[in-house]
């Protein structure tokens, strides 16, 4: 997933990085085709060059040798709300048919079955980043027809579009999973199957999704990670396999 997500990043872009796979993807991109990627962390580290794999978005390694450290009021107002963040990464316990993401609760808010951490910066990233990339492992639990709670709005919320709701950003342009890549239908914003990993049966993907998953007329076959990408991920970026589950 990290390698597939990394390919979505263009050199020189300003990216709002989350911890875990997004961080791996960004550092892989920097090590390969996008050396000038500017990594921005919600903690206030800008242009970080982490010398070790950061274990939190506030890791001291993100500060040492960075281009700028600013307070969080500047992060959210002058960078994110200002429209300076070109790509935002999102992940979540639930991603639904319209790309809405839930990181708040499984079950009802007042009496949840599982209480998740909540928004953090995810609500405003989903609203303001010029575009977002969603990274999530495919499973029926994780891809319901409708999320229990909209933490991060996608393309259609209660029947209303992002434009109607006045959201500056374009929303999720790709949902990268461990088996396939979903993309919003240009007209409706509904997530459709855009491509599968080598050897993955589209019907297997459909069985992991809680709605009638439509597909693009022609499915892209997604390039597996190159040996070089694998080497960087496994030997350089995450040698202790903290985030690489394989």
């Amino acid at each position: 997933m990290a390698a597939v997500a990394a390919r979505e990043l263009r050199d020189g872009e300003v990216v709002f990085v989350g911890i875990g796979l997004p961080n791996l993807a960004c550092n892989l991109a920097r090590a390969t085709h996008a050396p000038n990627l500017v990594l921005v962390y919600e903690s206030g580290a800008v242009g970080a060059l982490p010398e070790r794999l950061p274990v939190s978005i506030g890791d001291p390694a993100l500060v040492t040798g960075s281009l700028m450290v600013c307070g969080m009021a500047d992060v959210f107002q002058s960078l994110l709300q200002n429209g300076r963040i070109e790509v935002g990464f999102l992940g979540g316990a639930q991603v639904d048919r319209w790309g809405n993401i839930n990181t708040t609760v499984v079950g009802p808010y007042e009496r949840p079955e599982v209480r998740l951490p909540g928004s953090g910066g995810a609500a405003e990233i989903a609203i303001h980043a010029r575009r977002t990339l969603v990274v999530s492992r495919l499973s029926r639990r994780a891809f319901p027809e409708r999320v229990d709670f909209v933490t991060s709005p996608g393309h259609r919320i209660g029947g209303r579009s992002r434009a109607e709701l006045g959201m500056p950003g374009a929303g999720p342009v790709k949902v990268v999973t461990d088996q396939a890549v979903l993309e919003p239908d240009p007209d409706t914003g509904e997530l459709v199957l855009a491509g599968v990993y080598p050897g993955v049966d589209p019907d297997a993907v459909r069985s992991c999704v809680g709605w009638e998953l439509r597909a693009r007329p022609t499915l892209a076959s997604i390039e597996p990670p190159t040996p070089e990408e694998l080497r960087l991920l496994r030997e350089v970026l995450d040698p202790r396999r903290i985030y690489l589950k394989g």
């Binding site: 206030g44 506030g58 450290v69 909540g118 928004s119 405003e124 709670f149 209303r160």
Partner: protein
């Protein structure tokens, strides 16, 4: 210019400045989280506190487990990079533990609340929350109409804590405080607060502060007490002093899952220790976390 010293022990500062029922902010985003103050508040058995932080982190999970909290105001309640805050989850999921009232925002919302508090404005405007379920979960998230465009923006209410506790690398005896590395929302939290406790790794002569005034985040005249508490932010970190104790964060997952283990941990490392020094001793010292040296060059303030 040197007003009276505000240096106090943690015990005295908490006894005097943190009261039952207070709205308390212990800020520091990943960096400089004042666990030393949280533990003293637990030891002094403060009750009915409204605990506010963007990321409750282990410190508020411990305070919730110890029964200090009536309410939690927050935006991200996980164990950063490690898992869940189980005392928090037990309370919210109704699986035992004291009940806990929640008031939930996003990070931007919490930053806006403290910015409004620091500016002594009743609200803070932002473009946010459209399409999310947060305003439904938290009716205090409102809207405000722009007098120029007529558009409706989101608004969050000011947060003005009774007491804010900020950990910093250094301050002088008057409380003029300098922080570098991640700044979080400490400045806003301190200015928003009725009372301010600054806890530092090092007490320095005022000449050190005056030699680099651009590094000062909090002026002494808004500070009520200065507590000198080396390693006071462990298991979080202090840039230039010590690294984050990730093993501790990972280990908390196991401890906080198990009520008995959690109670035992609080006994051993909070209730049964006199102060921070003894806490560090029981951990067998923390030298393994001591930071390496990457000293920046100075700049010229001459004219």
């Amino acid at each position: 210019m040197s007003a009276g010293s505000k240096v106090a022990t943690m015990r005295d500062a908490v006894a005097e400045l943190v009261r039952d029922g207070d709205t308390v902010v212990i800020e520091g985003f990943t960096h400089l989280i004042c666990f030393a103050a949280g533990h003293e508040i637990i030891r002094q058995r403060r009750r009915d506190l409204t605990l506010c932080r963007l990321t409750p982190d282990l410190i508020y999970d411990q305070m919730i487990a110890a029964g200090c909290a009536r309410k939690l105001v927050f935006s991200w309640a996980g164990n950063p990079g490690a898992g869940s805050l189980h005392a928090f989850r037990r309370a919210v999921e109704g699986r035992g533990g004291p009940p806990l009232e929640l008031e939930e925002y996003s990070h931007f919302g919490m930053v806006g609340r403290l910015s409004a508090g620091a500016a002594r404005l009743p609200f803070w405007p932002m473009r946010n929350y459209m399409g999310t379920d947060l305003p439904t979960a938290n009716p205090r998230i409102a809207t405000v109409e722009c007098p120029y465009t007529g558009e409706r923006l989101a608004a969050v209410p000011a947060l003005n804590p009774d007491v804010t506790i900020v950990h910093a690398q250094r301050a002088d005896a008057e409380g003029n405080t300098q922080i570098w590395g991640l700044l979080g929302v400490q400045k806003e939290a301190a200015f928003a607060s009725r009372r301010v406790i600054v806890v530092v790794e090092e007490l320095v002569d005022q000449r050190v502060i005056r030699a680099d005034p651009n590094r000062t985040i909090i002026p002494g005249f808004i500070v009520d007490a200065v507590v000198v508490e080396p390693w006071g932010a462990h298991p979080s970190y202090a840039q230039g002093y010590y690294d984050r104790d990730n093993e501790f964060y990972l280990g908390w997952e196991r401890i906080s899952r198990d009520l008995a283990a959690l109670a035992a941990w609080l006994d051993t490392y909070v209730y049964d220790v006199q102060d921070r020094g003894e806490y560090v001793e029981r951990l067998g010292g923390l030298e393994r976390l001591r930071a390496d040296t990457r000293v920046s060059a100075g700049v010229n303030y001459g004219f």
